[in-house]
């Protein structure tokens, strides 16, 4: 398989896991300083939240960038009110995956159903939402597909509109499904013994976890 580059990177990352509020929270610290945080539903193993954080050139930590899940409200505060922010009447864009597909929801879209069109741009590897009344336009990529280096396929894409919400669905290809299943297996291995407690921090093993038994080092 030519794709497991991403899985290798996950294995190399320093991982910390935590069970809390019925969610499995996993924090990855990559060797290049990037941080990723994921939250899974414990029962269904659905991905609820995935966000990223990087350090910029000056050493300051940027705020979390949400990839999957509801974006956390910006800190606001003094700075926020002084400058500029998007009005709450604007469409809200978020990604909310299911087990078998990537899914995006755009809420607050009051325009009639037939103005929307969604297409795949192969050259830029992204999906484009257009409106014929020129009120909304969004270009977004599927980071998962980029990580596994898979081509985008317009037949996997469909969309629906109801209740001021546009739902765009892209079927996960088989490679992604396989990889996610493997990841879930490895995450679950870490749970032995620890899963009963609420809020237990577990350092996940680094390197190929398949061959060795999971090592648990509670932090407190």
């Amino acid at each position: 398989m030519a794709v497991p580059g991403w899985l290798e990177r996950l294995r190399a990352a320093e991982k910390t896991a935590l069970l809390q509020d019925g969610r499995r929270k996993v924090h990855y610290l990559f060797p290049d300083g990037k941080e990723m945080a994921e939250e899974y539903d414990v029962k269904t193993s659905e991905l609820l939240v995935r966000k990223w954080r990087v350090k910029n050139a000056l050493g300051a930590v940027s705020p979390w960038q949400t990839e999957v899940g509801e974006p956390t409200a910006s800190a606001g505060g003094v700075l926020g009110s002084e400058l500029i922010k998007e009005s709450s009447s604007n469409p809200i864009f978020m990604r909310k995956d299911t087990k078998t597909s990537f899914q995006w929801r755009i809420r607050n879209l009051p325009y009639p159903k037939d103005v929307y069109s969604v297409s795949v741009d192969q050259s830029e590897r992204c999906l484009i939402v257009r409106t014929t009344n020129k009120k909304y336009y969004k270009k977004f990529s599927i980071p998962d597909m980029d990580r596994y280096q898979l081509p985008l396929n317009s037949s996997a894409l469909n969309f629906a509109y109801a209740n001021c919400t546009l739902i765009i669905t892209y079927q996960k290809p088989k490679e992604v499904l396989d990889a996610e299943e493997e990841l879930q297996r490895e995450l679950k291995k870490a749970d032995h013994g620890g899963s009963a407690h609420v809020g237990v921090l577990i350092k996940l093993p680094q390197g190929p976890a398949k061959t060795e038994s999971p090592v648990q080092t509670p932090l407190f």
């Binding site: 910029n56 050139a57 000056l58 050493g59 300051a60 930590v61 505060g77 003094v78 700075l79 926020g80 009110s81 002084e82 400058l83 500029i84 922010k85 998007e86 009005s87 709450s88 009447s89 604007n90 257009r130 409106t131 020129k134 009120k135 909304y136 336009y137 969004k138 270009k139």
Partner: protein, 471 residues
């Protein structure tokens, strides 16, 4: 709440530039290329002082070599301080006003507070970083003011591209800068989201009859397309001090904007220096040598001088320019006398440029430029009289009279300031030496006079006192 729609916001905006006071030493419009800034007799609003300006030209030339410090001395009113800053700022290239930083010695209260190191670090610039910008065409600006006149303004801005439209909520600062930039419907603007900096790219042809303005240009300037928000790699200029702040505390950027930076440890500064040096090696960042200008330098105390002494030896030292009008005087914080009130060991590290009093021709030239700047018409005779006044009293006084005289002239419905107008304001407003003379004559009439030979004090002010001063 009074709501003003986009179309009616304009009149209030227009007044902003008119209120601007013309700085006392500003003698010409900036903006021309500064190639021979310091060599022509009259250039960039600088008149006369040929020798001092030649020296300044040399300063600019060797600034690249990170040469260190210079002092500027001369009698009062000989264009030491402010014209220098102006001239240097205009010649310094890419970021003129950023590079020059003014720390007035007067503001130092004698304590070795964090101010000086901070300003010192703030004057060197490093260019790195990226930022997120919004680019779009303005559809509508709506600003709501509270009906009571107090409280913060809120507003909405609608931007569009060829593909979409978005509404933004505006904060107070953003409203201010939109007003200052005179942004109107139809303008294409970019907004830096982090700093709130607005730049106007110009109106679209839809709103300006382009053929009339530029007959040769037939291709219309295309509007922005695609999404409104763009992440752009932009070269960003930050000062060392700003990097210090970001790295010294966890709240980072917030501290920078609120101004509460607290103490920055010297270890942090050393780390930053090492990091920046590393970036420079890798070609990631570029260091722009800063210029630190300290006016009234004799007001710094011995501790500040000691700091400067040491700071000048560091690798990151900016070019330091100091100005003073003192002769041999006491160094603040000690009982020792020294030239210019600067310790000898620091003086030793400086190059000294001397300025001289203006000649009659220069004075006239300055007044001419000044009148032009203030839009005052003046007759030739009035110029001569004013020049005379400028030579005998002070140039500053003569400059102050221009505005006053033009007001008198306007009152009698004249178009050109005449000798009589000058005479009138000359009798209305005293200059420093006449005022001193007056006070010497009538000292007995003032409260708490200390010049009285007999030492006799007047406990109560006699009738003449309060009517004294202005006439």
């Amino acid at each position: 709440m009074a709501t003003t729609a986009a179309t009616t916001k304009v009149p209030e905006v227009r007044d902003v530039t008119r209120i601007e006071r013309i700085g006392e030493w500003r003698r010409g419009a900036p903006g021309r290329p500064a190639t021979s800034l310091f060599l022509a007799q009259v250039s960039q609003g600088m008149v006369g002082q040929l020798a001092a300006r030649r020296a300044a030209g040399v300063v600019l030339g060797i600034r690249e070599e990170r040469w260190r410090a210079q002092a500027d001395r001369g009698p009062a009113g000989t264009a030491k301080a402010t014209p220098w800053v102006w001239g240097m700022a205009q010649a310094l290239g890419p970021c003129p006003t950023l590079a020059g930083r003014i720390l007035s010695g007067d503001e130092q209260d004698g304590s070795p507070d964090p101010g000086l190191p901070q300003v010192h670090r703030g004057s060197d610039k490093v260019r790195v970083e990226e930022t997120e910008i919004i680019e779009g065409e303005v559809v509508e600006i709506q600003i709501d003011r509270p009906a009571t006149g107090t409280g913060s303004k809120v507003g909405k801005l609608t931007l569009k591209t060829t593909e979409m439209e978005t509404i933004y909520d505006l904060g107070t600062k953003m409203i201010e800068s939109l007003t200052k930039e005179k942004v109107q419907a139809g303008d294409v603007i970019t907004i830096d989201k982090a700093t709130g900096k607005i730049s106007k790219l110009g109106p679209l042809p839809l709103w300006v009859p382009l053929k009339l303005a530029h007959p040769s240009r037939t291709k219309p300037f295309p509007g922005p397309d695609g999404e409104l928000q763009k992440r752009k790699e932009v070269v960003h200029t930050v000062s060392l001090h700003e990097i210090d702040v970001i790295n010294s505390r966890t709240q980072g950027f917030l501290a920078l904007f609120s101004g509460d930076t607290g103490e920055i440890k010297s270890e942090v500064r050393e780390q930053i220096n090492a990091k920046v040096a590393e970036w420079r090696e890798e070609g990631k960042a570029e260091i722009i040598p800063g210029v630190l200008f300290i006016d009234e330098v004799h007001m710094l105390d011995i501790e500040s001088f000691s700091f400067l002494n040491r700071a000048l030896e560091s690798d990151m030292a900016p070019v330091l320019i100091m100005a003073t009008n003192r002769g041999i005087t006491r160094i603040r914080g000690t009982s020792y006398q020294s030239p210019h009130g600067i310790p000898i060991d620091l003086l030793d590290r400086l190059l000294i440029v001397s300025t001289t009093p203006y000649s009659e021709k220069d004075t006239k030239q300055i007044l001419r430029i000044r009148c032009e700047e203030e839009d005052v018409e003046m007759s030739e005779d009035a110029y001569t009289v004013l020049t005379r006044i400028g030579l005998e009293t002070s140039l500053r006084y003569a400059i102050q009279l221009i505005t006053a005289a033009s007001l008198v002239c306007r009152k009698r419905k004249g178009t050109e300031v005449q000798v009589d107008d000058i005479k009138r304001v000359y009798s209305l407003f005293l200059d420093e030496s006449r005022s001193t003379q007056y006070m010497k004559e009538y000292q007995d009439a003032f409260l708490f006079n200390e010049l009285s030979e007999t030492g006799r004090r007047h406990p109560r002010a006699p009738a003449l006192g309060p009517r004294g001063g202005g006439g």
